[in-house]
Amino acid sequence: MHSAPDTIFRTLADPTRRAIFERLAREGEQTVGALTSQSGVSQPAVSKHLAMLKLAGLVRDRPEGRLTHYSAEPQGLKPLIDWMALYGAFWRDRFDALENLLNRMDQ
């Protein structure tokens, strides 16, 4: 189940939360402790941000012993993909390829 775009926008509107999400997306799985050391806010605050990111479907967690590892959910931003813009570019490109093929084909 994906979150509505509004929920994702709202969740990522907070700069600290966005920074945490970007770090997970860029650097891969991390613990709360590792995230806290670079975030400039307290560990409970980081935990709270992670909980909201998880609720929005942007982050997933993997418990291992007493530690929980967090990672970015690759599917999380899917509701934001603009399929019409993507397919507009896609089909124009394919039309070019079709014309190239027609030029190479016999009658």
Partner: protein, 146 residues
């Protein structure tokens, strides 16, 4: 968390091509020729035939499109469904692709309409073309608009 709406939108791409409709029809309906300009496929020109288009997967997309031939009028009109596949099907795209060929002065007017885009398929995330770096680069813009 679903906010379904009943209105859908269409995407139209059209172009005049200096080739006869019969030749273009072959490029649209013969699997090896389709692959040469579109994607790997197991298309057959039979109404009711179910087939796939297959591309390399990217982040957030498994690369597979589920299709079914819905209508065929040789050299004039070809309609097939164009849907998300597998575990991405329930929330994914459900569209219809309609090809129309009309003889024109110098060849054929080729029109492709992809219809059925729902508002939840289009959240205004312009210019995204796959991959985290680009998405991340735009998060700030996105957040600024919310």
């Amino acid at each position: 968390m679903t906010e379904f709406a009943t209105t859908t939108r269409s995407l139209v791409v059209e172009r005049d091509m200096p080739h006869p409709p019969e030749k273009i029809w072959r490029a649209l309906t013969q699997a090896p020729l389709i692959e040469a300009w579109l994607m790997k496929n197991d298309f057959q020109p039979t109404v009711g035939h179910k087939f796939n288009f297959r591309a390399a997967p990217i982040h957030g997309w498994n690369g597979v499109t589920d299709c079914e031939v819905l209508e065929i009028i040789p050299c004039q009109r070809l309609v097939y469904s164009w849907n998300a596949s597998g575990d991405q099907a329930p929330d994914g795209l459900k569209t219809i692709v309609t090809w129309t060929l009309k003889p024109s002065q110098n060849g054929t007017h080729v029109r492709m309409e992809q219809s059925g885009f729902r508002p939840q398929d289009d959240a205004g995330y312009r210019g995204m073309s796959g991959g985290w770096p680009r998405i991340l680069g735009r998060l700030e813009d996105v957040a600024a608009r919310s």
